[in-house]
């Protein structure tokens, strides 16, 4: 299958390893990955911070870049949610009815990575090998906005060598929340500190999730505390082999 990759501006700049992992993984499974180079950003930060008008051109560009593809994979649950749920809303706000339709149709072909693997490609065992103790944090957007359910866990369970441990109070938000982390740093850090305490309770070497943004927050606290626990996007675990 021919799959377009929307890597997201955040991953492109800060976590290119996640994008590479998606390419490695999908090619290993026998699919063709294309990266439309005109892509930039889904507009999530602007939208969620209250700048929906500034978001309009970004939505238009996204639709133009991706509308011709049958499947678009996004290694970020919050960006996938932004595109599917909010792009039509933005189009409506700027009063572009044609764009509302096109954004809706393009959005319906957008998949978060674990959705693509399980629902579209029908695989659970992706042939990965990762001999580490790992815990999984279900990010709010993957859990509640997209409703990916146990898809990530099903994929992780099939990884050879993995020691997957359950995270206590997993469903509670880590406190990142986009610009919330900057606007309310005290509450954000207090929430993150509790999440980190739970992660350490598991004795995991690696905490993984479907969003690098939340992982940057959790990882930033873990690294400041010199815990030695790593954060890793789950794509990188699924791409790993021996």
């Amino acid at each position: 299958m021919r799959i377009a990759l929307f890597v997201t501006c955040f991953n492109d700049t800060l976590y290119p390893g996640t994008g590479k992992a998606v390419v490695t993984l999908l090619e290993r499974l026998g699919h063709e990955v294309v990266f439309p180079t005109a892509q930039t950003c889904c507009g999530q930060m602007h939208y969620n911070t209250g700048y929906d008008r500034e978001c309009g051109p970004l939505v238009r560009d996204f639709v133009k870049t991706f509308q011709s593809f049958d499947a678009i994979v996004v290694p970020s649950a919050s960006c996938a949610g932004m595109i599917r749920e909010n792009h039509p809303r933005v189009a409506r706000t700027i009063g572009d009815e044609a764009l509302v339709k096109k954004a809706g149709s393009t959005g319906s072909r957008v998949y978060e990575l674990t959705e693509l693997l399980i629902d579209v490609l029908g695989v659970e065992d992706v042939g990965a090998y990762f001999p580490h103790r790992v815990t999984y944090h279900p990010t709010c957007h993957s859990l509640r906005a997209l409703g990916v359910g146990d898809r990530p866990l099903r994929l992780l369970r099939a990884v050879r060598g993995i020691d997957l441990v359950e995270l206590p109070d997993a469903a509670e938000c880590c406190g990142f929340g986009g610009t919330f982390a900057l606007k309310n740093p005290d509450v954000s850090t207090a929430m993150g500190a509790d999440k980190v305490a739970r992660v350490r309770q598991t004795g995991a070497e690696v905490v993984c999730a479907a969003d690098n943004s939340c992982l940057a927050h959790i990882g930033g606290l873990l690294s400041r505390l010199r815990t030695g626990v790593r954060t890793l996007h789950l794509a990188e675990i699924l791409a790993a082999t021996d």
């Binding site: 930039t40 209250g50 051109p57 970004l58 954000s188 930033g220």
Partner: protein, 476 residues
């Protein structure tokens, strides 16, 4: 924001005087160990119980959908149902008053009390009267209002503010309550301990006397059934029942969105409310009265106070569906850490963050900050029994909020950069070089400017030497 709008806002719901913006107020709360402990304990307990109570009903999802439809329909035809309610209450001997804002409502209630010649009244917990600041307004006219709900009593005796919709004294531990009673409650026994049973007993003794003496009561209303002019109060302690029945004059104050068309509609909410709020299948006391009861004068005060304006907003109006169950507070990780006082209104937590700025309708530091007092994690929407999409309303209110000039410039610049792959690539190279200069061993310890708010507590990721884009180009 014009001066007129600000003045209109002040007449509606007073911002607690001198209330700072949410982030500052929350900063102190986060450091208060006792508060954190009390809140975490109380909210996690009720959270688990609610989940169990809700899971007992197989048709919860349909009930929720029905409740949402009923509320939306009623709010759409609000004028019709309010007129019907007035007609029915009047036909049954009650007297209906209309108040446009807080000032008008307080005036009406104060005048009604004055006409009775009384200077002391008993009150049963009512969000609407807190919203309009009734107790303070009455005090200014020489009338003392005595709260009779146990938690409200604790708040009142402690010269404190409520911090939760259902459990206004949730921030207080047992020992603190004992101290407040000993210090402030006339007739509290000297050997009072912090055992819940002893505390409740002391409060009961104290309140009983108030009930027997009171000639006038002020109450809130949970629901008003338009078709028969029936008012409904739902409670756990029975103090409400005493308040509603013993005094000669009853004045009930309700927000106009509390009306439901029929008894059949009411049935839906009576299933949703107790399970969502106290995790009970049914609440211990449900009082219903239609118009005036024999031997009692009954006044109903219908308060708008920003509700009509809220209704005009297509996205924001869903906040008017709220039945004040407080489930959204109990699951909110931000509320759990910031506490209720940081929200600067009687409505704390997620619902407060969307309701207070809309009802007040005027910018103040706390109102401008409230829509941002959330990570948009969606836990509130998941539990709300009337399906208010709180994250959607928060984002909507953010787009209407007043943004700082520096932030606006930064966001515009970011949008401009992100609109072109070439500009983005240039920005990435720049950020990469700067980031690698600042960062060592996998983390940046300190970022400049407003970004210190990140690095004060967290390391920041160092941009990779090669972006994904560059890697892809080389590869193909």
């Amino acid at each position: 924001m014009s001066t007129d709008q600000r003045a209109a806002g002040a007449a509606r719901m007073p911002t607690y005087v001198g209330m700072p913006a949410f982030p500052e107020a929350a900063r102190d709360a986060v450091r208060d160990t006792r508060l954190r402990r009390n809140l975490t304990h109380a909210t996690t307990t009720i959270r688990a119980k609610r989940a169990a109570a809700v899971s007992e009903l197989a048709d919860w999802a349909e009930l929720r959908e029905t409740a949402k439809r009923i509320k939306d329909h009623t709010i759409e035809h609000l004028g019709h149902y309010l007129r019907l309610l007035e007609e029915q209450v009047t036909a049954r001997g009650g007297i209906v008053h209309w108040a446009r804002d807080a000032a008008e409502a307080n005036r009406v209630v104060a005048d009604l009390i004055k006409a009775t010649g009384e200077t002391d009244v008993v009150k049963v917990k009512s969000m609407a009267t807190q919203e309009i600041g009734l107790n303070e307004a009455l005090a200014a006219e020489g009338i003392r209002a005595h709260e009779t709900d146990l938690a409200e009593l604790i708040v009142q005796l402690g010269h404190d503010r409520p911090s939760h919709i259902l459990v206004p004294a949730i921030h207080r531990g047992r020992a603190e309550i004992r101290d407040i009673f000993r210090r402030e409650m006339p007739g509290a026994p000297d050997d009072l301990t912090d055992e819940p049973a002893r505390l409740a007993e002391a409060a009961r003794e104290h309140l009983r006397e108030r009930f027997l003496k009171a000639k006038v009561a002020v109450s809130g209303v949970n629901f008003a059934v338009a078709e028969t002019g029936s008012l409904v109060v739902v409670e756990s302690e029975g103090n409400g029942r005493m308040c509603l029945t013993l005094p000669e004059t009853l004045i009930s104050v309700m927000g106009i969105e509390k009306v439901v068309p029929s008894w059949q509609d009411l049935e839906v909410f009576l299933q949703l409310l107790p399970r969502s709020s106290t995790a009970e299948r049914m609440n211990p006391y449900t009082s219903v009265w239609s118009g005036a009861t024999e031997g009692q004068t009954f006044h109903l005060v219908l308060v708008d106070n920003g509700r009509t304006a809220t209704r005009d907003d297509e996205v924001g109006r869903q906040a008017l569906r709220c039945i004040r169950c407080s489930a959204c507070l109990n699951v909110c990780p931000v509320y759990q850490r910031a506490g209720g006082h940081a929200y600067g209104s009687p409505y704390p937590g997620p619902i407060g963050a969307i309701l207070s700025p809309q009802l007040r309708g005027a910018g103040s530091p706390v109102d401008d900050s409230l829509p941002y007092a959330s990570t948009l994690c969606g836990a509130c929407y998941e539990v709300c029994p009337v399906a208010i999409d709180i994250p959607e309303v928060l984002v909507h209110l953010r787009s209407r909020a007043v943004h700082g000039r520096a932030e606006k410039a930064a966001m515009r610049f970011a949008a401009w950069t992100l609109r072109s792959p070439t500009r983005l690539a240039f920005g990435q190279r720049l950020a990469g070089t700067a980031g690698r200069m600042l960062g060592r061993r996998g983390g940046i310890r300190r970022l400049p400017g407003p970004l210190t708010r990140w690095t004060d507590t967290r390391d920041a990721p160092v941009p990779a030497t090669e972006t994904f884009r560059e890697w892809w180009e080389k590869r193909s």
